[in-house]
């Protein structure tokens, strides 16, 4: 693709999960049209530093298709160990699609095809012998809308370890549940009502429960797809604080529409535009002096 035009097909089914309010998306799209001059800029490759020395996840020349439509164009990116990488960009830019290809969540979407080299600790994520169930235990995911199971708080967290066979005895499970809830910063708030339904918690608590559920299976990487967009500022601040703590033990990739959030929680920021990776740089650089014109235009609210 040589000219950059907004192609509705590129939004693809991946945006279903993130379920942006239609109005927001419409505003963004009209803004893109209003700034058509900006979008005529051709993206030929990624500027900045997409690679790093200690890569946990390594992606090379990744292309993702939904049937005929190509959603990701030749993206290469490393995600460093114990690092938070923020992925930003306007709706339909492919950041969620890219995130979901990292633990093969796209496998469930019919007609979705992922090409290129994607490795976790040097092992191919799309290798023929890879079983996606343990893969998704290693690469956990937290979604935009908190989605606790309709079970007790305890069972929400204990479910993963049980099915992955990490723990079977009650005492072991108890320990995992407590540890996970503590790490997610939720333990003190729920320790006296572990048998109550997870769905009865507040939005922010539910999201922390989902994070506890994700870390209960001892993942190495946590993917977060707009984890705070349904939360109030206080709950958001808690989750952001948590992301920073989790970084000590996990590698994190987060998709966010909040520029300030990307600036606050990440060490590196990747800017996607119409399925291409435009720029990857230290977060500090991206928000004070980005290299690419499109990054500048997006983060300063000139379009997108």
């Amino acid at each position: 693709m040589t000219t950059m035009t907004l192609n509705a097909g590129e939004a693809g089914p991946a945006e279903d999960q993130t379920a942006n309010p239609a109005s927001e998306s419409a505003v963004e799209q009209s803004a893109v049209k209003a700034r058509a001059a900006n979008t005529n800029i051709e993206v030929t490759g990624t500027v900045g530093s997409p690679f790093c020395d200690d890569a946990k996840l390594s992606m090379r020349n990744v292309n993702v298709f939904y049937g005929e439509a190509q959603a990701i164009h030749d993206v290469s990116l490393d995600i460093g160990r114990n690092q938070v990488v923020a992925m930003i960009g306007p709706s339909g830019c492919g950041k969620s699609t890219f995130l979901r290809s990292l633990n093969r969540m796209n496998d469930t979407i019919e007609g979705c095809r992922v090409e290129g080299e994607l490795t976790l600790d040097g092992e191919a994520i799309y290798g023929p012998k890879v079983d996606v169930v343990p893969l998704r235990a290693r690469v956990g995911m937290v979604f935009q809308k908190p989605n606790p199971f309709p079970k007790s708080i305890y069972d929400n967290v204990a479910y993963g370890p049980k099915i992955h066979g990490i723990a079977s005895r009650r005492a072991e499970l108890d320990e995992i549940v407590e540890n996970s809830l503590r790490r997610a910063g939720l333990w003190n708030e729920v320790k006296d009502r572990l048998d109550k339904p997870g769905t009865g918690l507040s939005g922010g608590q539910q999201q922390r429960l989902c994070i506890a559920r994700a870390i209960a299976v001892s993942p190495e990487v946590i993917l977060m797809d707009e984890p705070c967009s349904a939360l109030d500022p206080i709950a958001t601040a808690r989750i952001e604080e948590l992301i920073d703590e989790l970084r000590q033990n996990y590698t994190i990739a987060i998709v966010t529409h909040s520029m300030q959030q990307a600036a606050r929680v990440s060490q590196r920021t990747a800017y996607f535009h119409l399925g291409k990776l435009v720029e990857v740089n230290d977060t500090e650089t991206v928000f004070t002096n980005p290299e690419h014109e499109l990054t500048e235009a997006y983060i300063t609210g000139r379009f997108g």
Partner: protein, 231 residues
């Protein structure tokens, strides 16, 4: 990268940034006028004009405070990033420099009043006029470079400060000679020295403004001789 501060989705944001820049340049205009008036008051022994300079200084102080407040509001409301952030930061820094140029102009005005009262023959005025012309040009060019986001012209103006510093040092040596030749002139020549000092400082502030042009356009912090930071 080109500078465009009128292309935000939010029209209000465009206007906020535009009016911040306009306000700063208006303040720059006032301060430039102050320097010119102060130097003229000195050259023509016009204490009335010098008094006017002292009065206008209060207005300049008020301008600085207003600019600070508007910049703070933009940060609070918009959380500017990249070039927008650099624009706001540069305006805050330049406002402070302009305010200090205003202070120096007032000092020159005070010296004008003192020297007029003494009423003796104006020795050292040639040096004052020479340095005053140089720093006034620097100040004008610096603000002009900011208006046009012109890094090349900012760098040229910035380099002129070296010559001003040299002229200042040589003028100081000259004044010391006068004082040694005629100790009765010490108090008067000291006033001339303070004036030269103020003018030299104005050159430094103009240089700071040039550095902010580079910061705004290139995102590089070249203060304190860090010109290697320019990419």
């Amino acid at each position: 990268m080109e500078m465009h501060f009128d292309q935000h989705i939010s029209r209000q944001f465009n206007e906020d940034l535009e009016s911040l820049k306009t306000e700063m340049l208006e303040m720059g205009g006032m301060v430039t006028r102050q320097v010119a008036d102060a130097v003229e008051a000195l050259a023509n022994a016009d204490s009335e004009l010098a008094e006017k300079v002292l009065k206008v200084e209060e207005e300049i102080d008020r301008c600085e405070m207003e600019l600070d407040e508007h910049a703070t509001l933009i940060i609070a409301k918009r959380q500017p990033a990249a070039s927008d952030l650099r624009m706001v930061m540069s305006v805050i820094r330049i406002a402070r420099d302009l305010e200090r140029v205003g202070d120096e102009a007032s000092k020159v005005a005070k010296m004008a009043i003192a020297l007029t009262d003494e009423g003796t023959a104006p020795r050292g005025y040639t040096e004052i006029r020479h340095i005053a012309n140089a720093v006034r040009k620097m100040l004008n060019d610096a603000l002009d470079a900011y208006t046009r986001f012109d890094v090349a012209s900012a760098m040229e103006t910035l380099a002129e400060d070296e010559q001003v510093d040299m002229d200042y040092r040589s003028a100081v040596r000259e004044m010391i000679t006068y004082m040694m030749e005629d100790p009765r002139s010490i108090s008067r020549v000291m006033n001339v020295l303070w004036t030269l000092r103020s003018l030299e400082r104005i050159g430094d502030h103009a240089k700071n403004i040039c550095e902010q042009v580079v910061y705004l356009v290139k995102g590089a912090d070249i203060r304190h001789g860090n010109e290697k930071n320019m990419r």
